[in-house]
Symmetry: C2
């Protein structure tokens, strides 16, 4: 399983993924599900992946190589030519369709070949945007009315976001809520696990740095513990039902 | 959709259900999903229902009528003859299999005929017990190591239970956690809705009273609001990620 989360804010974007991959419960590995493709000062495109690992790696590697400026891959996979993030989402969806069309018939006998993505970022000339690419290669866009997108194991981490997150939330607060959402998911589903990779993207900065929160990261541990204790105190402080 | 929750504690049991039934999003009704079958001083059996409403009503009505002492229904559905709650769970599973065998072939063209149940209670001579009856009619039992059972829309309301609930939790505290678990589920899934029916069963009392929390119930409103505000203050009090 996987949990990936994208949040669209007036201040920018928070994009985060877990790192656990499992084929059955006896084959567990750590992988990267967060990819950054950028041109300094020009564009930042972050791709989060869920689903069949061979499919997602084929899609993301094709896009990365074609966008590397080294003459690799297919021209239609080059995300540097996308005029808008809508174009970039179309490119990711098309690459997904191509990989599933090529591999799907062989994979189906063994596993589900499907995959989905979150694509968030900013291309010069427009505001930051956030998309969810479905397994069919079509996609939807987040807005202030619907300001976060989840893929993979989406439910355990949703209540905290439904309660506390809005488009006016600031970047630091949203990053904190994202980590609490991952904490809830990790506690309830063993197949979602740390480290958590996160990009906090400030609008118009055209710079993206990946922060990785390992399970033993001092901040992450402290925050999880403080939240657990605070929640327990909060529940205790509520009156019992009559 | 439905959300039902059963909690097994050293002090007794908490059993609760929502009341929303929907066939598509344009046909929504309030129904009862919590049934109490009891003999004062002798046995209390609470049945919570999820799944196809015609199936669950057929099962529960058959059991209720056969257990009413009015000579109705089938002798094998009479829960007053169950020697243990394990027997009662077997009876519920058998009734479910019979109804699905009879109706399933006709229903399948229109809807999923399957259903599942939580059966909790106490029969004199043993401690309170709690079972989950699967759609196949087989079942599992809760224990101190795995002290709650959910059916229906299980995920949104699980994190708060995973964090705060244990077999030593007292009845009042568990009832409060159950309501918070319902609150999280109701906020995230429109097809789960109040009123919430709840039984707080104290071990060896052999008495069960159903409490109903309407959406506008003063306690439920106060608790939801206090929790929302407390959670927001808690999140604000946590340090932002470095």
């Amino acid at each position: 399983m996987t949990y990936c989360l994208g949040i669209l804010l007036h201040e920018g974007l928070v994009l985060a993924s877990d790192s656990r991959s499992n084929a059955g419960i006896d084959q567990v590995a750590k992988v990267n599900k967060l990819e950054v493709i950028s041109q300094p000062g020009e564009r930042v495109i972050v791709i989060l992946s869920a689903g069949n690992l061979a499919t997602t790696q084929a899609v993301v590697t094709s896009l990365r190589e074609a966008s590397s400026g080294q003459g690799l891959g297919l021209p239609e996979d080059d995300l540097r030519t996308a005029h808008t993030l809508f174009d970039a989402a179309t490119t990711v969806g098309a690459a997904l369709r191509r990989v599933v069309e090529r591999d799907g018939q062989f994979v189906k006998a063994f596993a589900d070949p499907s995959a989905s993505f979150i694509v968030g970022g900013q291309i010069k000339g427009e505001a930051p945007r956030l998309f969810e690419i479905y397994s069919a290669g079509n996609f939807i866009e987040a807005s202030a009315r619907s300001s976060f997108i989840q893929i993979g194991e989406t439910k355990y981490g949703k209540p905290i976001l439904d309660r506390a997150l809005g488009p006016d939330t600031d970047l630091a607060e949203a990053a904190k809520l994202a980590l609490l959402s991952f904490d809830a998911t990790i506690r309830s589903n063993l197949s979602v696990g740390p480290p958590i990779d996160m990009v906090r993207y400030r609008a118009d900065s055209f710079e993206a740095t990946v922060t990785t929160f390992e399970e033993q990261d001092p901040y992450f541990r402290l925050m999880r513990q403080a939240y657990a204790e605070g929640l327990s105190a909060l529940v205790n402080s509520l009156p019992a039902p009559p």
